[in-house]
């Protein structure tokens, strides 16, 4: 019963959600809508669970004085502080001079921006040290990357102004994006969609049981 009940629930709910695409009758649509609302609530609770888990794992790390424990301490302090500030300010968190907005605009936003900005530096370094052309395939990849990289920015067209228009970097880049790239992407999308459908059916029919845990 421990395994059969979840399998039955999955099958019934999966079939109901599938049916709701095709049957607009309220017998199907009302429970389907209810389940969708449940999904939204479950996702929201997921954040609470995630926060609690982050707290537990990092507190454990601090207690055991793991090698990187000072970073864990920073994480725990900032997590608790941000949540406490949010709870204290409640509905007024968006007011002009609220601490929440200060934390968002002056800490969270610049730090996230910095993380992404660092990528530019590491990409340049990786391009110099790691992008090695050793095979024909790698050569094709490198050529396509160079054309797209230069063709996507206005300087690419400026560099090839002397060529006829269809041969300029911008035009060649457009062709790469619209023809070979699109064909490959479409194949990946269709493959992934078929895979999702197959997995969904396997879950509904109870063939795929790995989500239940226990290894079978």
């Amino acid at each position: 019963m421990k395994r059969e009940l979840p399998l039955l629930m999955t099958a019934v709910i999966g079939l109901l959600m599938l049916l709701s695409f095709f049957v607009p009758h309220h017998v199907v649509s009302v429970p389907a809508d209810f389940l969708q609302q449940c999904a939204v609530i479950v996702v929201a609770f997921g954040y609470v669970l995630g926060g609690a888990n982050a707290l537990r794992v990092n507190l454990e790390g601090i207690a055991k004085r793991q090698p990187d424990w000072p970073y864990k301490l920073v994480l725990v302090v900032t997590l608790v502080f941000t949540v406490a500030v949010g709870l204290k300010e409640g509905r007024h968190w968006q007011d002009d001079h609220s601490t929440s907005m200060f934390l968002y605009n002056r800490v969270y936003s610049p730090m996230q921006g910095t993380m992404f900005a660092l990528l530019a530096f590491y990409i340049a370094s990786a391009a110099f040290r790691a992008f090695r052309v050793r095979t024909v395939e790698a050569g094709l990849l490198a050529a396509a990357a160079l054309i797209v990289m230069l063709g996507r920015v206005p300087v690419g067209d400026q560099m090839t102004m002397w060529l006829p228009e269809p041969l300029r970097l911008g035009a060649v880049q457009d062709w790469i994006m619209n023809v070979p790239q699109n064909a490959a992407k479409r194949a990946v999308l269709m493959g992934a969609a078929l895979g999702v459908m197959a997995t969904g059916l396997r879950v509904i029919l109870g063939i795929e049981r790995s989500y239940l845990g226990g290894g079978d």
Partner: protein, 278 residues
């Protein structure tokens, strides 16, 4: 000696060059001439073709990490919509994005007010803020927008806002403008909303995710696409604006040239090494 010294080049030199190439044009712009590609013109034309006073859904799915690429198209699209006298309902499906989106929209609205436009929150635009649930929220909105967002970003009851009296579900909108930095974003809106509720849609996305959306553009599911800062800059040019995307294009152009040069030089060094090896 040849190019052997390049192999042992300290990567901090590369970091320094990238830093200078990015900072230089931001301080002293070069003004690389911009063109306008077909997907960008389609994006612009899709909004230009909207009837006045129509209601548009604008989902801004990004957070501060995508600010340089995502904020410029948000501003320009919102300006174009307001100048077309469209009414805009804004949503955000990214946890950390709603504050930035609200700030961006409010700043743009204030700029337009300063120019003499009569724009009122609640009547001309509404920011419904963030809702957790990814695709489930998209589907839930199809059953009723107020159902999915009972309150707006500023904690007003959605039902109390005049604009929302005219908004029921996706059938109330004539267009979906999605500004997307990843998941959930354009792909999910196409799959869950465009395909299911037949809501026409255009997208502005990060450069890295643009290739993923080209099939949707070619199939007509997307009616226009702005890819990254380059797309945003071209859109600004079409609108006759000189925003932050246009200013950033010089820096991005030089950085791209340098990365391309790094790939070429890195390989030249390796080939030379292999040739000279005993």
């Amino acid at each position: 000696m040849g190019l052997a010294w390049l192999e042992k080049l300290d990567r901090r030199w590369l970091f320094l060059i990238v830093g200078l190439l990015v900072l230089g044009p931001l301080v002293r712009p070069i003004g690389v001439p911009l063109g306008s590609s077909k997907p960008v013109r389609q994006f612009h034309d899709a909004i230009a073709a909207l009837p006045s006073h129509s209601i548009v859904l604008m989902s801004c799915d990004y957070d501060p990490g995508g600010k340089p690429e995502m904020v410029p198209p948000t501003r320009t699209a919102f300006r174009q919509l307001m100048e077309k006298h469209c009414r805009v309902v804004i949503t955000c499906l990214w946890t950390g994005g709603s504050g930035l989106v609200d700030e961006t929209i409010e700043q743009t609205a204030n700029e337009l007010r300063a120019k003499g436009m009569d724009i009122v929150y609640g009547r001309d635009y509404v920011d419904l803020g963030y809702k957790a649930g990814y695709e489930a929220v998209m589907v839930l909105m199809g059953k009723g927008i107020a159902n999915a967002f009972p309150q707006d970003q500023r904690a007003n009851r959605t039902s109390s806002l005049p604009l929302m009296h005219e908004v029921k579900d996706y059938s109330s909108f004539v267009l979906l403008v999605n500004i997307s930095a990843g998941y959930p974003g354009t792909k999910e809106w196409v799959q869950q909303v465009n395909a299911r509720f037949h809501l026409p849609m255009i997208s502005a996305c990060t450069a890295v995710s643009a290739p993923e959306y080209y099939p949707y553009l070619q199939s007509g599911q997307l009616r226009g696409l702005l890819g990254g800062m380059a797309g945003a800059a071209e859109y600004e040019k079409l609108r006759g604006e000189k925003g932050s995307a246009t200013r950033g294009m010089d820096a991005q152009s030089l950085a791209h040239v340098f990365v391309a040069l790094c790939i070429v030089m890195g390989n030249v060094v390796q080939w030379t090494k292999r040739r000279t090896a005993p």
